[in-house]
Amino acid sequence: MSTLALNASRLCKRYGPLRAVDDVSFSVRHGEIVGLLGPNGAGKTTTINMVLGILQPSSGSVAIEGIDIARNRSRALAHTNFAAAYAQLPGNLTVLQNLRFFGLLYDVAGLRARIEQLLIEFDLQGLRDTRSGVLSSGEQTRLALAKAVLNRPRLLLLDEPSASLDPSAADLIRSHIRAMASEAGCGILWTSHNMYEVEQTCHRVLFVSHGRILLEGDPRALPQEHGVATLEELFIRLAREPLAPPRAAS
């Protein structure tokens, strides 16, 4: 088994002269939670889309559990799962139907028992026959996360998973995610604009701007290293003044 849940190597995505992602390399180890931070349009979602195989890089490679996604997409994606605000689950299916549908899609063994376990874990038992389209945003997030862990992924991609949650629910979700990493050894790539949450949860962060990784390090140590008081201050500074000018496409 690979020691890395994810290895992205020299990823580039060009749209004509625009470099949405420019020579980005990073990895996520098992049991590690890595925060992918950056302002809107920095290239975070483009990077995640390339990891998920729904966007082909212009150059570079992505390996999940050591499996190159370009060569063996299905086998690589069997080890991963995701939850994102822009990928809502079919609203005309109930909670239970959604979990069955995705359980079959990911070919989950012992599906019935797994679903029951997740319904309890994410406090969705009372909503099992409710259509997901009428759930509150917090309930929808819990369902999206239950779907995201259905197949016990070795790599979990979370694009702002707690954006619509109240503090208590967000804390509960963070606990779940930390447990996924520490107990199940799942590698997690997480995007968030909530710096408190990032400090609380992530072992390491990558700051992305103009499609490039500008900084990498421990979210609790980085602010001091760069002469600011908080991670949020560092974020604002990086978002407004990138450390190096972006390279133009050749």
Partner: protein, 250 residues
Amino acid sequence: MKTRPIAAIALRQFYLMRSSPTRTLPMVAWVVIDIILWGFISRYLNSITSTGVDFTSSLLGAVLFWDFFTRVMTGVTMAFFEDVWSRNFINLFASPLLISEYLSGLVLTGTATSMVGLIAMVAIATPLFGLHYAALGLLLASAMVLRLGPASEWLVWPIPAFLSPFVGVFYPLSTLPPWMQAVGHLLPPAYVFEAMRAVIAGRPYPAAALWAGVALAALYVLLASWLFTHIYRYAVRSGLLARYSAESVS
């Protein structure tokens, strides 16, 4: 290919139909109207002509098969559009689902929903208009339709109305001018309708011709799958798939 992801695609449609009369009603409503309308037309033609031709067998049989073909087409198209409307592509294509599994699931769904219409048509046509399957030898032809149906769906999907004159739904291909006959011989449903007329007329079952139709259907399935895969790869390369999903939140 795995069976469970294919089952997932079909199960999703089953869930949608089970919960919505607006989806299930059209499966039988239109075919019932067609059978009643054409049944009475056939009965009227039998009463005013003395040609010895049994219009009930020929016309009603043709309507029955043509409705089946077009229902398969509608079934697959609707299943596909459910994913378009619910912006579900990112969930599907960021999973281990293979394109071949997705297409198989759609075709399975289209065929299964069409069978409901076919059963309704036979249930009405047999007692009301004396269309006896066993007597007509249509059971054998029906088995062939099941083999040809999905392939024929890919054929008639874009413009079924345009194809209907060429496949000889209500008349033998020999009625057509040579160039239309040539086109007709390229279309799998034409072989089914020719076979149906041969059986009704008491001629031997044209097995060789039907196998030629099966071979053509298989070829069209391969071509359609190649085209779908080609378009999918273009969408992944150009970012259309990822952008399409992201647009859902704007």
